[in-house]
């Protein structure tokens, strides 16, 4: 079930109510049942896959705990990885591989191979697979003891708030909290209040901003033939906002829901579009995934503690794999590759930039310097997002063609921009909502606290006003209901 659905609005309060009514030692069982119910509401059959992943990594953990030699441990880790990545690869990449194989076969005039399978991508498979594999690695590295209680471990893998789109949790955080459930206090008022505000903010981001701006993005990307520079640039920027609010909104709802249940999940987004470099962007965007790749791919490859060439090689591999993780298409790989190139070039140009600043006497402490860096970083990410959003390479190239060959500034003044899915009223609502988003993110980077924590520190009247405002804005201006396509979260396809 989607978070922004009537089913979830009914499901979640029942889960919370029962959670706090039943005895503490039974709570994890209740959450496990609720999590599987949540997952099976998408497609009951795919519960087998998550159970399989859970069983394999659980057994791997136990075996790792008993293994005596490093070699045997490595075999166990390899087994866990092969089994899990095999399932992920099959469900997610089989079509892609077959499609590319057929292209090669066609090029050499050999008959294409038919796809004997027909299945939907299981929701959240990329997320829970990585989460389960991180456990295997953490046990291997001795960072955590193997979990003996299968049900508690199963809850770690399937915990419903973050099951289908993250944050990708670590065993050292979430599993530890599950193990310590009985030690938690009966009810944490501040946690619940903060969680509620986070959830409301997440719904606001998703339903008011993401789903609304998606209408504009869709119109631009599906009608590129009538777009020029202005529309395509706005379309790319709009998609940047859409994907941030969609994914960030989901994460906020997940973190808020977990908080209400007394769990602290890791932060997944930290005002990413206020980053001053691409490297910083990846420390603020989809933090759980970046850290996963850093800890389980980049560092094992050697990280940055090697020659520059190897460092760049490691960066490239990490980002190309990250791109592929996002989707089974070359556009995602290109997107990942672009980010790798950004970082490599950024690193190479560091001394050049420093020299330029010195020659030009650039003051690097002032607002204009930081603002300029933020703008440039934002534009670079927007450029890369074009490949992420485009359905194919040819579509992405055509989009860029229109962007760089059809200079048309008059469309800003002739109101034709209101013909891209959003009328004046909708644009007005969007602008207001985005200004609010900027304000919240600014608060985040200056006060270094989440919106939930910030609001909770304020006086009662302000807290109430924020909650009432968010509720009203979501139920009135949220994009939901029969007149709209209640679009699922973008990252559900991963």
């Amino acid at each position: 079930m989607l978070f922004n659905s009537i089913d979830f609005i009914i499901f979640f309060p029942i889960v919370v109510l029962m959670y706090y009514i039943i005895p503490k030692k039974m709570r994890y069982i209740w959450l496990l049942i609720a999590s599987y119910y949540f997952y099976m509401s998408w497609n009951a059959k795919y519960a087998v896959l998550i159970l399989f992943s859970t069983a394999v990594t659980y057994v791997s953990g136990i075996l790792l705990g008993k293994a005596k030699t490093t070699a045997s441990k490595k075999w166990i880790v390899a087994f866990s990885f092969v089994m899990n990545l095999g399932v992920l690869g099959f469900f997610k990449y089989f079509d892609f591989l077959l499609h590319n194989l057929n292209k090669v076969l066609q090029a050499v005039h050999i008959t294409a191979v038919d796809n004997p399978f027909s299945f939907l991508l299981p929701v959240g498979i990329s997320f829970y697979t990585f989460q389960a594999l991180s456990y295997t690695m953490d046990v291997y590295r001795g960072q955590i003891e193997p979990e003996k209680n299968f049900l508690k471990y199963a809850l770690f893998v399937s915990f419903f708030p973050q099951l289908v789109a993250g944050p990708i949790e670590r065993s050292g955080n979430l599993l530890k909290q599950i193990k310590d459930m009985e030690k938690k206090s009966m009810w944490n008022y501040e946690g619940a209040a903060s969680g509620l505000i986070m959830m409301l903010w997440g719904f606001f981001m998703k339903m008011v901003i993401a789903d609304r701006i998606a209408l504009f993005v869709k119109e631009v990307f599906e009608n590129v033939y009538r777009c020029g520079t202005v529309e395509t640039v706005l379309g790319a920027m709009a998609f940047a906002v859409q994907i941030y609010c969609d994914f960030g909104g989901y994460s906020a709802i997940a973190i808020g829901a977990a908080k209400i249940l007394g769990f602290d999940l890791m932060e997944n987004f930290n005002a990413p579009y206020f980053s001053e470099s691409i490297a910083e962007f990846w420390r603020r965007w989809h933090i759980s995934l970046s850290f996963w790749f850093r800890d389980y791919l980049y560092i094992p490859l050697g990280g940055s503690r090697c020659s520059r060439v190897k460092k760049y090689r490691n960066l490239a591999i990490t980002f190309l794999v990250s791109g592929l993780w996002h989707g089974a298409a070359w556009t995602f790989v290109i997107w990942g590759g672009i980010h790798a190139i950004y970082q490599i070039i950024g690193d190479l140009l560091k001394p050049v930039k420093a020299k330029c600043n010195e020659i030009l006497h650039t003051n690097t402490q002032v607002f204009s310097y930081h603002f300029g860096r933020v703008c440039i970083t934002f534009l670079l990410t927007c450029f890369a997002w074009i490949f992420f959003r485009a359905k194919s390479m040819s579509e992405a190239m055509y989009y860029l063609n229109r962007m760089f060959t059809r200079w048309n500034p008059w469309v800003v003044f002739d109101e034709s921009l209101f013909g891209f899915g959003l009328d004046r009223r909708e644009v007005g609502i969007l602008i207001f909502a985005i200004l609010l988003l900027i304000l919240v993110d600014l608060l985040r980077i200056t006060k270094k606290e989440s919106i939930g924590a910030f609001v909770l520190r304020q006086n009662l009247w302000f807290r109430y006003a924020v909650i009432v405002f968010l509720v009203v804005f979501i139920i009135v201006y949220g994009e939901y209901g029969v007149a709209f396509d209640s679009s699922k979260f973008i990252y559900f396809d991963f």
């Binding site: 109430y464 139920i475 029969v482 007149a483």
Partner: protein, 473 residues
């Protein structure tokens, strides 16, 4: 101390929940579909504002009912307290559950149900579907209606139970009456007032179905008929099926013929007024506002005909002297004012206009004449014949007529601008110093002054709370 803190947190949580609930309810009331006939009149609000156990006759159906039968006429002429429980394109399940909802607070003696929508199983117009499914307030009848709605297969019911997923989209079309109750809902009885006519071509009668064929009633049809009969027996009212004058096509007439057979077999009265158009004198276009709906003139005839040929046999009481039935008096006043407003819309000469205005009550009328027109024409003489002479002399251009007294806007007021609150949302502002003659008379932000070359008349009906005429002669 700890207990006090917990106590205080509980109280705060409860206060927050109440605050959110009140705000959500406020949003719901604002966004809710308001009209049962696309005119911000909501028949179930009118029902709620009708005193308990005062309605003696209920007419149930779709637009044919609210256009074709005027309870105001039955009240004015015979003292019969009736009510049109009618929603645009009302399907039969909406009719059944709507009637059940009415029967919670009323005990009518006669219920007449129009069968036009008996087999209306395609709600092509989305707004009509919403009007019907959102007409009832939250109640068991509303839930049952959604559950048994058979005008659409595979209806997704969840949004209709919760309502917000649909109604919240109305933020795109919010109007004044979404925030302010339409006063007419306090006393009207479900009618739709219009006197517009349609150009009636010769032979238009031939377009109406004359088929005598029958249609095999299925289990669902029979169940609905049986439910209605059982309801009438349980609640003790006389059930009558009818067909009002409308352009029925064969596919509608066939099931109607079948129902008339069923009614005869089951001892339920049935009247096909469509076949009695000649008798009711409805054969000309001035009785209809389109080929399928009667106008006020036609409705008056039908209402009187129904009284004389149907209702008079039930010994219904004349309640005109009963103070409990004040709302019916106001409904009659509403009809009279709407009729006057319609007449004003259709006058084309100054004499007819002034004749109509002379009949009016509760009007604020602004007459605008330029000074040179005053001297060079006989407007003052014309106005004088209607008793409209200036109370005070003035060299200025504008007068206001309030309760039939003509007040000149004197110099002092003219330089300051003259303001008159016509209702709690409309204000009249007169400033004859404006260079543009049209802006000399403003109704809120709308320029209502004339071109300055003749007599300009702006009429505002304070009872209807709206402008009813803006004419220039």
């Amino acid at each position: 101390m700890e207990n006090m803190r917990i106590h205080s947190k509980c109280i705060r949580a409860v206060v927050l929940i109440v605050l959110v609930a009140m705000t959500v309810y406020g949003c719901y009331k604002t966004l809710m579909w308001k009209s049962t006939a696309d005119n911000h009149l909501q028949v179930y609000d009118q029902l709620d504002n009708t005193p308990t156990n005062t309605i003696d006759v209920v007419f149930v159906g779709s637009s044919h009912v609210y256009c074709g039968i005027y309870p105001s006429v039955l009240w004015r002429d015979y003292g019969i307290a009736s009510f049109d429980l009618a929603v645009s394109a009302q399907d039969r399940q909406s009719a059944y559950y709507g009637l059940k909802e009415l029967l919670k607070t009323q005990s009518p003696k006669v219920v007449m149900i129009d069968l036009y929508n008996f087999k209306y199983n395609v709600q092509e117009d989305r707004d009509n579907k919403y009007r019907n499914l959102f007409a009832l307030k939250y109640s068991k009848n509303m839930i049952d209606l959604v559950n048994h709605y058979d005008a659409e297969e595979n209806l997704d019911k969840k949004p209709f139970y919760t309502r917000f997923p649909i109604i919240h989209t109305r933020y795109k079309s919010i109007e004044k009456y979404d925030f302010k109750q339409n006063k007419a809902n306090l006393y009207c009885k479900g009618e739709y007032y219009t006197w517009n006519t349609v150009a009636w071509s010769e032979g238009a009668e031939d377009g109406y179905s004359k088929t005598e064929e029958r249609y095999d009633l299925d289990a669902a049809d029979l169940q609905w008929l049986q439910n209605m009969k059982e309801l009438s027996e349980e609640k003790g009212f006389e059930l009558i099926f009818m067909v009002l004058p409308a352009g029925l096509e064969d596919y509608i007439q066939r099931p109607v013929n079948s129902v008339s057979d069923w009614a005869e077999k089951n001892g339920v009265a049935f009247y096909d007024f469509n076949k009695r158009r000649s008798e009711i004198d409805l054969l000309t276009g001035d009785n209809y506002y389109d080929y399928n709906h009667l106008n006020g003139k036609g409705a008056e005839k039908v209402s009187r005909y129904i009284y004389k040929n149907v209702l008079s046999q039930y010994g219904l009481k004349d309640n005109r002297s009963n103070s409990l039935y004040k709302t019916w008096d106001l409904d009659v006043k509403q009809m009279e004012h709407e009729q006057l407003a319609w007449e004003l819309e259709h006058v084309d000469n100054i004499k007819d206009c002034l004749d109509v205005l002379a009949k009016s009550e509760d009007m604020v009328i602004v007459y605008g004449l330029s000074c040179d027109m005053l001297e060079n024409s006989n407007y003052t003489e014309i106005l004088g014949k209607y008793g409209l002479t200036p109370v005070s002399e003035s060299e200025e251009e504008y007068w206001i007529c309030v309760e039939n007294k003509l007040y000149a806007i004197d110099k002092c007021q003219a330089t300051k601008g003259y303001n008159l609150d016509l209702s709690d949302t409309d204000t009249l502002h007169i400033d004859i110093t404006k260079a543009n003659p049209q802006e000399r008379v403003m109704l809120n932000s709308s320029a209502e002054g004339g071109s300055g070359t003749g007599l300009c008349i702006l009429a505002y009906d304070k009872f209807l709370e709206r402008k009813v005429a803006h004419l220039e002669f």
